[in-house]
């Protein structure tokens, strides 16, 4: 099964995404700290999709994305930003860093599932 990792400093946000994706044919790993997720990726974990929050302490979503792009195995891994932020300039920055897409919270469960299905090319 494809591995999807969620990174969000909010445990309740992670609980929401976990409940929504539980019926999907994917393996899910969740992290409350981006630097921990990045360390595991640097140590060899190879996710098929990364979904991350933007505003997080210590390492924010953009810094995490920059770190991911420096690791050979995740240079091209699809990455979605899941955030309350809606500013166009932030979306542009994300796009320039190689983001696949931008999801505004609160997300609609069906649309989040569709986005994961689409990016991972899972059977609909």
């Amino acid at each position: 099964m494809p591995l999807v990792i969620f990174v969000d400093d909010s445990e309740t946000a992670l609980a929401s995404t976990r409940m929504v994706t539980t019926s999907m044919p994917i393996e899910v790993k969740q992290y409350t700290e981006a630097q921990v997720a990045l360390a595991e990726i640097q140590a060899g974990m190879t996710p098929d999709l990364i979904i991350t929050d933007l505003n997080m302490p210590v390492m924010n979503g953009f810094e995490f994305l920059e770190g991911l792009r420096k690791v050979p195995s995740t240079q091209r891994t699809p990455c979605l930003m899941l955030t309350t932020e809606t500013k166009a300039e932030l979306k542009q920055k994300g796009k320039a860093l190689g983001l696949t897409g931008w999801i505004v919270k609160p997300f609609n469960p069906a649309q989040l599932k569709q986005a994961i299905t689409r990016v991972l090319r899972l059977p609909a």
Partner: protein, 131 residues
């Protein structure tokens, strides 16, 4: 300055109350989500949104805590200047007012930024935008 010391203490109290509110709302939501997962209940759109409200509330309260931190930092600076040399008190007061205005501006900006689709001007925001 005594009045500012009182304001400082009041702000500290407000921060503590907000931190407790964040922790309690988080604990409450985790209990509910734990129940849902334990019983394999499927959530609909409205429950999914409700579960995410806590995240938005936490971010809003955290932004206010950050604004309070900034205000307290500036009160500290003012108090230091005031105690060091009363002649520069007026200048320090003007600087404090300027800093407080900046803090208020930043706090208002964060209120909108951290509201996601709840912000009035983002009600019709595209849910998922692919690049």
């Amino acid at each position: 300055m005594l009045i500012l010391d009182s304001v400082y203490d009041l702000l500290t109290h407000i921060k503590e109350v907000q931190k407790d509110a964040i922790a309690l709302s988080c604990e409450s939501l985790l209990m509910i989500s734990g129940f849902i997962e334990k019983n394999n209940l499927e959530i609909d759109d409205s429950v999914a949104s409700a579960l995410q409200y806590q995240d938005v509330i936490s971010q809003q309260l955290t932004a206010i805590i950050e604004a309070i931190d900034s205000v307290q930092e500036n009160i500290d600076r003012f108090n230091h200047s005031y105690k060091t040399d009363e002649d520069i008190a007026v200048d320090s007061m003007n600087k404090l007012q300027e800093k407080l205005s900046l803090t208020l501006g930043e706090a208002k900006d964060k209120k909108d930024r951290f509201s996601g689709k709840f912000a009035n001007n983002h009600a019709d925001e595209q849910e998922i935008e692919f690049f």
